[in-house]
């Protein structure tokens, strides 16, 4: 009996703590929702760090509209149902702007909550087409180009520059990978002149990919396009090289970056990938890399700069609108032009980013080098 009373007391105390959070000081709260645990954690953590550093920078410069910014991180483990709970939590805790989510599926699921609560959402990494193209998400913006743009670039490069006649499309059956390959398939079908000899999905994280590699070999595809992330890509690339399959490997932004070249080592030579425009010469970009190194002791992850740009855009729009009221803020977002680490960017009338596009890279001497 005693223990029950104790439990009730503890519960009441806990709730008191939770409700007390609602009445915090005079700050603007930015919810940073994304995946920060589990196997996709590196992606979410990189973006979250971008948000944190951006908030530090803006606060150091005096904040927005005279108020300081405050980050509220949230973890959705890349699962839509948890993302919805997370979104509800952020909204009830008083988030006024959202940066996130990381996975497109989560963003789609959670945006229903944000839309109803009249909150502007800027995602650093959700690339699914429907988010901006369907028109169902008026409050949504992103600092990364959408999948369709990338698919167009990939397919035209394969046809015009690599002059391939046959291609194999391989994906990891996931939301991002399969979606991208389906878009590429559509592009090829629309262009004509390139034959798709293979369209296959593999199990991500599998210990052995030799069967699919043999299949690619048999299909005699000149180019193998990969939709998925870098770890599986590295396994397939290694096997392709070891089994001496003559095909050019070409992936999307999921395998662009140093982590792929490090992982695949010498086998990565000659691999193509599309990735965000190279902005490493941008002064802000350089400065942020140093800051990140100082604060976290390592180099920035994949979506670090996109995360930073999200906060920049929100802050700039709020200053411009003179308020963080939904309608004004949203309207101001369209006119906002910022000097981000991704270069000067803005947003088009669908909420897609202008100025941060994709380029094609090739691994030469162990480093991705721009080729188009």
């Amino acid at each position: 009996m005693k223990s029950i009373f104790k439990a009730i007391a503890v519960a009441a105390l806990g709730l008191a703590v939770f409700t007390a959070q609602g009445f915090a000081a005079d700050t603007i709260k930015i919810g940073s929702a994304g995946v920060i645990s589990g196997d996709l954690a590196p992606y979410g953590i990189s973006a979250l760090r971008g948000v944190e550093i951006a908030v530090d920078d803006i606060n150091a410069a005096g904040g927005v509209l005279g108020k300081k910014l405050e980050v509220m991180p949230g973890d959705d483990v890349c699962k839509p149902e948890i993302a919805v709970n997370m979104a509800t939590k952020l909204v009830s805790d008083g988030a006024q702007m959202i940066v996130g989510h990381i996975c497109s599926g989560c963003t789609i699921a959670a945006n229903k909550i944000y839309k109803d609560a009249n909150i502007v959402v800027v995602s650093p990494s959700s690339t699914a087409d429907p988010l901006t193209l369907s028109g169902d998400h008026p409050n949504f913006f992103r600092t990364i180009a959408y999948d369709g743009a990338q698919a167009k670039l990939m397919s035209s490069f394969v046809k015009n520059e690599l002059k391939a006649k046959t291609v194999a499309l391989v994906h990891d059956k996931g939301d991002y990978g399969k979606g991208q390959m389906e878009l590429v398939q559509k592009e090829f079908e629309a262009m004509g002149g390139v034959e798709i000899v293979l369209f296959e999905g593999v199990t991500t994280g599998a210990v052995d990919f030799s069967a699919i590699v043999q299949k690619i070999k048999r299909s005699k595809a000149e180019v193998t396009l990969w939709g998925g992330y870098h770890s599986d890509a590295s396994k397939i690339v290694q096997l392709l090289k070891k089994k001496r399959v003559k095909t050019t490997f070409f992936g999307g932004d999921g395998m662009y970056g140093d982590n792929f070249t490090n992982l695949a080592g010498k086998y990565s030579e000659g691999v193509y990938a599309t990735g965000p425009n190279d902005t490493s010469n941008n002064p802000l970009h350089k400065e942020l890399a140093v800051k990140h190194q100082k604060k976290y002791g390592e180099d920035p992850g994949t979506f670090f700069y996109n995360g930073y740009a999200c906060v920049q855009a929100l802050a700039a729009a709020a200053e411009k609108a003179g308020s963080i009221d939904y309608d004004k803020l949203r309207a101001a977002m369209f006119d906002t032009k910022i000097d981000s680490p991704l270069g000067p960017i803005g947003f088009d009338d669908r909420g897609d980013v202008i100025g941060a596009g994709f380029s094609v890279y090739k691994v030469i001497d162990g480093k991705y080098t721009q080729v188009n």
């Binding site: 196997d39 954690a41 590196p42 953590i45 059956k173 296959e200 999905g201 593999v202 199990t203 994280g205 599998a206 210990v207 052995d208 030799s210 069967a211 699919i212 590699v213 043999q214 299949k215 070999k217 048999r218 870098h230 770890s231 590295s234 396994k235 290694q238 070891k242 089994k243 001496r244 982590n259 490090n262 992982l263 695949a264 080592g265 086998y267």
Partner: protein
């Protein structure tokens, strides 16, 4: 019922055989490549399945944490190899030491996990031990993730690409060859251990009846610990070889590999050492052929279908003993 089953079985075998021979004749090189690929894949499963099956045989526990022991083995090897590499040791010495450390540490982890999470549950309902194992698996994954890194790390192969093997390397790489050979060796050694040594005898006795064996003077706790240690050692060897094969490692690799290996062990008849290897090979080769000739998307569906079909005909797996239930 029985006749229908046999007829169905024959029909399936007939169709598969017909297709198989047709494809073999049509493109023998491709067929053999797929077969070889399947053999490698099967051996990979087998290396993990062996530990699974040993532990299961003795305490009837699905040791969910086995995949994590395998991951820790590979992780230890990576750490040892990198440290020694930086100190500039000879690569052959590094390879040997890395494997030795991986085995020793995996054994220690296996031993400790058993003492913490399974031993207190010896008399509890079997499902409780299963949940405890799941909890342990979750704990170990996150422990490694937090202490090391969530990112994938490259794993430099400890087995070099020998120059003399180069002409054949596109057929089968030296690592793949090592995997197949190791599987066979480990299977034979384990078989001998169980069949001919004193501790093996004690293991068999404990597997049959724990109370009875303790009455005839077997220290059941020690036997179970030994089984965990031996099982973990095979997992560590598997971990190192497989990490060499795929060239990368992170904290999550154990889960998926463990799941597949468990399926393979059940397929072969869980508790039986040759069964685990046979089950793994059947699984690996059939997956490889299915991907090669049909759609790789449905590879796992096919694997499970094979499992269901085999279990319908032999409810205790291919080599499992059919136990008559006692009243």
């Amino acid at each position: 019922m029985r006749w229908i089953n046999i007829l169905l079985g024959l029909a399936v075998a007939g169709i598969l055989g017909f297709y198989g021979i047709r494809e073999l004749l049509a493109d023998p090189v491709y067929f053999l490549e797929l077969f070889l690929g399947g053999l490698v894949r099967g051996s990979i499963y087998a290396l993990i399945a062996l530990g699974y099956t040993m532990v299961y045989g003795i305490i009837q526990l699905i040791n969910f944490a086995h995949g994590e022991i395998y991951m820790i083995g590979a992780m230890t090897a990576l750490i040892v190899a990198s440290v020694l590499g930086l100190w500039g040791w000879h690569s052959a010495v590094i390879a040997i030491l890395a494997v030795v450390f991986a085995v020793v540490y995996s054994c220690a982890y296996g031993f400790t996990v058993e003492k913490i999470a399974y031993k207190p549950l010896r008399t509890a309902p079997r499902l409780s031990a299963l949940i405890s194992a799941i909890g342990m698996s979750l704990f170990l994954q996150n422990y490694v993730m937090l202490a090391q890194t969530p990112e994938f790390q490259p794993f430099e192969s400890l087995i070099p690409d020998f120059a003399f093997w180069e002409p054949y390397a596109h057929i089968i790489t030296s690592v793949e060859l090592a995997i197949i050979i190791t599987t066979v060796v480990v299977m034979i050694l384990l078989g001998m251990l169980i069949k001919f040594t004193k501790i093996g005898k004690a293991m068999r006795a404990t597997a049959q009846d724990k109370i009875m064996s303790s009455l005839v003077g077997i220290n059941v706790n020690n036997v179970i610990s030994t089984t965990f240690v031996v099982g973990s050692a095979t997992a560590a060897i598997g971990g190192v070889l497989i990490a060499c094969h795929v060239g990368q490692i992170n904290f999550f690799i154990g889960f998926l590999a463990g799941l597949k290996a468990f399926i393979a062990a059940v397929l072969g008849g869980i508790g039986s050492v040759p069964g685990a290897v046979l089950g793994s090979l059947v699984l690996g080769i059939s997956e490889s052929f299915f991907t090669g000739y049909f759609w790789s998307e449905y590879e796992d569906v096919f694997a499970f279908t094979i499992l269901v079909i085999i279990l319908i005909f032999r409810p205790s797996g291919i080599l499992g003993k059919h136990e008559t239930q006692k009243v």
